[in-house]
Amino acid sequence: MSDQSDMVKSLIAAFPGKVIALELAPEQAAVLVGASAVRDFFRHLKSDDKLRFDYLSSLSGVDAGEHLEVVYHIFSTVTKAKLTVKVQLPTENAEIHSICDIYRATDWYEREIRELYGIEVLNHPDMRPLLLPEDWDQGPPMRKGWTGRDFIVKPE
């Protein structure tokens, strides 16, 4: 979609060096953002008059083998635009800035990626575990190759 790719071009222009376009699928606008630019990027998305991205639908952690990813799916109810934002993080000591003051929806999503993936979220007001018990001591379970006491991998 031409206006999608225009939008992606304008984002790359606004954050030189920090944002690159991703080719995920035709008609899917996606960008890869550097971890340090996350907060500014989202602030730009929300406040820019032409972009008006007001609805952050989902925040997922992905274990892509050599690195971790945090994937944001963000939409605009005004322009009907869709954008996928990816942030790549190293497997060890993964850290990302919280954006829960910009988009309140990420409040619990960020708690979840911390407990399930072990990604530290900086400046989040409340980092208690959300889904796992408070006394969970078996490491972040959603990582590939995680084995827990009661988790049995089905044989092929």
């Binding site: 699928a25 007001d54 639908s57 309140r104």
Partner: protein
Amino acid sequence: MDEEIRSDQLISKSTDSGFATEEFMVNMGPQHPSTHGVCRLLLTMDGEVVKDCQPHVGYLHRAIEKISENRTYAQIIPLTDRFEYLTSMACNWVFCLGGERISQMEVPERAEYIRVIMVELNRIASHLVWLGTFGLDLGAITPFLYCLRERELIMDLFEMTCGQRLLYNYIRVGGVSRDLPVGFEKKCKEFVGYFMPLVDDYEALLTNNPIFLTRTKNIGILPVNMALNYAVSGPVLRGSGLKWDLRKDDPYGYYHKFDFEIPTGTVGDTWDRYIVRINEMRQSALIVKQAIEGLPEGEFRAKVKPSFKPPAGECYTRIEAARGEMGAYIVSDGTAKPTRLRLRGSSYNHIMVLPEIVKGLKIADLVAIFASFDAIMPEVDR
């Protein structure tokens, strides 16, 4: 686990009203007749007034996402059923939509029609349960029985089709698992004809009742900006005044063929959310009527190999389920099992926003607001 709450534990002494009163903490749930499912709300209360509400979730976490990483697409569909058991047709669909989009599969027309019929019937069934429990939470016990009576007819239709009453495993990648049985169309038309006037019956019991109005009007107002900030969706968002429905605003399936309206509220109070869902039931019945009358002949499923292997890629699909936006993010690496499945449920965000609008209200209002959000815990915890 959280620190024990003792009955003599003071949180603070509050002197708002000139009397020295003490706030106390009360646990609502996880087993409670009116938190719909296992949700624990830690309430800080000053007499009847809720000063703070902290939801604790995770009691129903079954690690669906982790398990799915080791299952084929066909094996995951029954798992998605349990993601949101009252609208499991929609859960199946959002997942299959992801698989179809990644592999760019064409779904036959008949299958699309059948999907719409099933999901809309499921929406009616889910709203009937919501209406029953909403009345129950407010003390009107009778609507519950009437709603379940109608829902039985929908359950009969589903049982005819796929053998199941609640967790269907019916919508598959490429279409549906089997064709509609003989006699389904007739029975479905009968049901629609029977059901449409009954919504007026339910309304007669509640909508204009003065007690009901005092319990729901201007209670729990959710402003649109806050709703969008928290990514609230579905009837809750529409109740706040924004006309946003994924069936029209981010179309999928064959919804563009049907003529229906999107009921919207004005203020964002409990009454608005109630009336939006009542009208949605009517609209869904209309859609089912149009779909069943226009049902084309054809295949009920595209040709899909039993070992379905989509190409590498990823996709985020979202549909309008009964409670709001339901999303599935699938990352495929070209094998028969997805690398990552992320399920997004609307109730997650609704419970997130609950503490914001409940502060300063009474506990009876909390119950009414929670019921009007129609949150289901499996969607939150997965």
